[in-house]
Symmetry: C2
Subunit: 397 residues, 2 copies
Amino acid sequence: MKIAVMGYGTIGSGVVEVLRINKDKIAQRAGEPVDVKYILDLRDFPGDPMEQKIVHDYQTIVNDPEIGIVVETMGGVEPAYTFVRAMLEAGKQVTTSNKNLVAAKGAELIRIAREHGVNFQFEASVGGGIPIIRPLNKCLTADEIEEITGILNGTTNYMLTKMANEGADFDEVLKDAQDKGYAEKDPTADIEGHDPCRKIAILTSLVCGQQVDYEDIHCEGITGITATDFKYAKVMGRSIKLLAMSRKVGDSYSCMVAPFMLDASHPLCGVNDVFNGIFVHGNVLGDAMFYGSGAGKLPTASAVVADVVDMVKHTHVNIYINWKPEKITLVDYKDSVNRFFVRTTSDRAAVEKAFGQVSYVEAGVSGERGFTTDAMTEGQFEEKAAQIALVNRIRLG
Amino acid sequence: MKIAVMGYGTIGSGVVEVLRINKDKIAQRAGEPVDVKYILDLRDFPGDPMEQKIVHDYQTIVNDPEIGIVVETMGGVEPAYTFVRAMLEAGKQVTTSNKNLVAAKGAELIRIAREHGVNFQFEASVGGGIPIIRPLNKCLTADEIEEITGILNGTTNYMLTKMANEGADFDEVLKDAQDKGYAEKDPTADIEGHDPCRKIAILTSLVCGQQVDYEDIHCEGITGITATDFKYAKVMGRSIKLLAMSRKVGDSYSCMVAPFMLDASHPLCGVNDVFNGIFVHGNVLGDAMFYGSGAGKLPTASAVVADVVDMVKHTHVNIYINWKPEKITLVDYKDSVNRFFVRTTSDRAAVEKAFGQVSYVEAGVSGERGFTTDAMTEGQFEEKAAQIALVNRIRLG
């Protein structure tokens, strides 16, 4: 099997490396050797062992009938979409690690692949090396999936873990994450939650079989989380995690990306550092959790190459993925129900006038008080919170 | 699709229940409705809604060409083996939750299924509802799997969790587990580790593609674990877990079932109560972990029905499983390398004469001392331990 890799950055070069390191094992599992014939990139790579395989025009790949599988690791919607579409229409199978492409164009590319009797797979687009897309499509098929909640961004999880362990403040850990290469120079997509938002949109689409637009999901990042919040969390025996959440409510889904204070008994509570975890609740399965490296060169490449192996074994056989282009209307964010931890400078009388009976949390922070509420809708919370002087609020999980 | 269920006990009746509860979702995922036509059992079930479907002779199922898939949930090697073999030879696909059957006859039944163009699947035989068989076969295919370590028995994990939380002793928690229905009247298979031993043999077979006989695996249960051991564990910040472990060493595997003291940072350390967890380390994936309900009626049935859905979609298409009947020679148990926690009534001089420098653990237990060793082979440990008065020893993980 001859394959092409589009994009010779971190993940693309990881794919080439995994195919080299585990060459024999992969050939055994795929049933035939898997060789990289082309690498598409704008750049040249003089001196690189793959130098001779670099091409600059994607049509070279489209027009070579020997290429059966194409790996897309460029990132971004365009030109990835144009290239992937052309590959599928030319009867080539495609796997991608590109969450932006899958969130925006997944349903359409799955349809095009099916029409051409090939496959479009994207295991690496969510959870890096953690198997989650295939388990949802192939393993948890006896269940009504009632909840998927994930720690889906390694950068922010690293930062929150460091804040928890060291009492450090946000700006300090962001700088450390940038120094270590975990966070980009422009960290917006991570710290504002845009990255996990696209990932939970993809997972929810697979669960409900329809298009979920990430623009419809309420999304909060971690920029408002402070060292003081962690003081309260410590007293409460909880950890603060950026969760991407999707819950079945009636015939629709309630989705949200936001920091939560997790109880120590929650399976995601112990998911620390750059690791990711995906919690799934099925109506007959009960609770399950998938844990591993959610990013990084080799773990992500491991998931891409697993797709390649699967596609070698499914040449000319379409693997059905239930994701129709019809858009689902999500539950209005204001109607989603949560419990809250609240920090306020208002006095007890004002707190109890707005919220009724609450549980106070003593963390030795002067000039303010912390408390937790019962479950209520986001809309109800906003109304009540408007009656007090709010310092911060974090949902409880 | 008409199916038959062999064995109408806990899991078998769970399968019928899951097919009823999630009828529409399962039909959608399978592409057609899945109906139970026969239930094979020695007993009658007067008044049961399925009463009319009960049959007593497996030949009724063998000879009905309408039956495409058979679910085996009887347990034990015979007569399950005879029945399953007859079904496969009659061109019917089979899924089983029966670890005894899979550990003893897995390779042969996979071969027979392949020869008849059908499938033999067994997702529920390890880890109950947790997807692990299919992830190993279909997801982690780009990796050299270097380690699989599982908490694979919910009964003993419940007992150990209770001992840790309540300071209770072994006999007390065993009685409680029996009262709650978690442990059998004869709890030998659980507390002596025979159950997780069969499961790690199955997982190792899938990883290496050859037959691993569970009789070849060194197996210790939890009957030697006392409340005093947990006092030391608490001081050390560790939890005691019954692990089933398989590590690649050269071209072979070192396998063991035994209690380990796990460091708090280990992903399996927080797997408590009746839950199971399976830790996997791949050479490019790194660490991953799968967590969920390892037993129980509905979670296990969820995995069985997921196999049914997969087989409906693979009628007349064999899904390749790499498990050859040729037996692999495991690494001699005496050569496997571990660190140890040791309790002794000998004095420091005797300890240090045998083990050299060690780290002592102070847990306020009078009349003895506890210490941890460096890494050494099991053989080396036995030689050294013979020189002191040993109270107990637990491996460190």
